[in-house]
Symmetry: C2
C-alpha cells in the first residue's frame, strides 16, 4: 500500500472481516449490505459486488478469515478528498482465530472496560479504519481467560464489545444496544436480528445500561468469526447458560449450511 | 507500507506535518515534544530524535513540507497489540501548500462546520491517524474562497479548525480552546502560546462558545504550514485586521530566523 494512501494517512476507509468455509463466504449478503452502507456513510464509491466476491474466492479457496478493506486511495497531503477518487481495495486471507473450544460451549468471561466510547453519529455503526478506541480498550487487559471487554458511552449506555456486538435476554425478549451514536454494526448482529425476527422472537434495539446487563437472565456476543458466545461472567456477575444463545447458534449454523 | 500495518488497519499511529526551509525543520522542538507526547498517549515507542531529524534532513534538503508518521507496525488481525512492537516510520517530503498570498496578508474567510466533534479525552490533543472527522468536516465545502472550517463539540464549545488551531483576542487578552476533550494540539499552537508568554501577553486555554468567537475583536488560526492567518470573516461576521495576529506573525518569523 502506498504511504500516501488516505487509508493510512487518515483512516479514510472501511473494512469487513468475514469467515470463509470450504470456499464459501458465510453471511455474504449482510457483509455486502453493511459494506455498502459504510461506504455511503463516508461517500466512498463501493466496489463492484461480483469483483469483490471473486477476489474473496481467489484469496480463500478453503477455510479462512478474509479481510476486505476499501480506502479513498492515494492522494496528496491534507483532508480535502480528491475530486476523482480511485479507491484502494485490499483483500487478504488469514487463519481462523484459535479460541479455546470451551468458550463456544460453556460461554466466556468478559470484563467492563474503562474506556468510554465517544459519540459521533456521523460515523456510528460504520466499520471504519479509525479504530483507536478499540485498540485502547483491548489494551486494558492481557489475561487470556478474559475473552472480551464491554464498552459504554459517557451517558452510561452499554454499546458493544471491543470486537463483538452485545445482546441481552430479559423477560422473554431480546435487546441489543442502539448504535446510532457510537459502535459498529456487525454483519452477524444484523443476521441474528433477522433470524430472530423470522423466529418471531422480539428483538429490539434500545439504550441499555449496566443495570440492564447485570439484571438480564442471559447475555451473548456475536461477530462473524465467533458466531455467538454466551457470556458466563461479566466481572463478578455470573450467568447460567441460557436457551437463547444456544438457539441463536443453531439458527446461525443452519443459515450457514443453507446458503 | 505492508497491508497489515496497524497504521492502515486501525489508524494505530501518530503523525506530524512540519515546514522545512533551506534544510532547517522549523519549530522542531515543539514538533518533537508533541510527537513524543502523542506516542505516549498511545503507548507507542517514540523514535530516536537524532535518527528522525536526520531522516527529515535527508528527504528535505531545501524547502519542503515534511510529514513524519509513526505506526505500531505490522501485525496480525485484531485489536490486541503485539507484545514486541516494531514501529513503522514514514518520513516524506511534499511541496509547500499554495495558498493565495492575500490570505496571509489580508486574512481569510472561514465557515462554521456542521460536523460536531466527538469527545474522547483519551485521544484528545493527539495527532493520530484517526482523522475521519476532519475528512468529513473538510468535505462540507468546496468554495476555494473559504480557507478553513471551524468545529465545535456537542456542548457548543468551539475547538479548532479542520487543520488549524484557533485563537481569539478579547479585552487585551488572548484565549485558545481547551483541548482536553477533543481536538489536536498543534506544534504551532504551543509555540505561539510560549511566544506570547515571553511577551507577557496573557494567553489562556478555556472553553469558548460561538458567542465568544463572534464577540471577539480579533481571531486567528495557526498551524505549522500557514504560520498564522488572521480571520477576516466567519460566515456573515466580519473582523477588522487586528494587531495581535500581526504581532504573532512577527514573533513566529523571528523565532524561525533565530533557530
Amino acid at each position: 500500500v502506498p504511504a500516501l494512501d488516505r487509508g493510512l494517512a487518515l483512516g479514510d476507509g472501511v473494512f469487513r472481516t468475514l469467515r470463509v468455509r470450504s470456499g464459501r463466504a458465510l453471511n455474504w449478503s449482510w457483509h455486502w449490505a453493511r459494506l455498502t452502507a459504510d461506504c455511503e456513510k463516508l461517500r466512498l464509491p463501493a466496489p463492484d459486488e461480483a469483483t469483490l466476491r471473486s477476489e474473496v474466492a481467489r484469496v480463500a479457496p478453503g477455510d479462512a478469515v478474509v479481510k476486505a478493506t476499501i480506502t479513498r486511495g492515494e492522494a496528496g497531503r491534507g483532508y480535502a478528498a480528491p475530486t476523482a477518487v480511485r479507491t484502494t481495495r485490499i483483500v487478504s486471507a488469514h487463519p481462523p482465530p484459535e479460541h479455546p473450544a470451551e468458550w463456544a460451549e460453556a460461554g466466556v468471561r468478559v470484563r467492563r472496560c474503562h474506556l468510554v466510547l465517544a459519540q459521533q453519529p456521523r460515523l456510528a455503526g460504520a466499520k471504519t479504519l479509525n479504530r483507536l478506541e478499540n485498540v485502547l480498550a483491548r489494551s486494558e487487559w492481557d489475561d487470556p481467560a478474559i475473552a472480551e471487554g464491554l464498552l459504554a458511552d459517557a451517558e452510561g449506555r452499554v454499546i458493544e464489545g471491543t470486537m463483538s456486538n452485545l445482546f441481552i435476554a430479559a423477560g422473554g425478549r431480546v435487546f441489543t444496544p442502539d448504535l446510532g451514536r457510537c459502535g459498529v454494526i456487525g454483519a452477524q448482529r444484523e443476521r441474528v436480528r433477522e433470524l430472530l425476527r423470522h423466529e418471531k422472537v422480539h428483538c429490539e434495539e434500545r439504550n441499555l445500561r449496566w443495570t440492564d446487563v447485570l439484571a438480564a437472565g442471559e447475555i451473548f456476543l456475536t461477530n462473524s468469526l465467533i458466531g455467538v458466545w454466551a457470556v458466563r461472567q461479566v466481572d463478578e456477575r455470573a450467568y447460567a447458560p441460557g436457551p437463547i444463545a444456544a438457539r441463536v447458534r443453531e439458527l446461525i449454523e443452519r443459515d450457514d449450511a443453507a446458503a
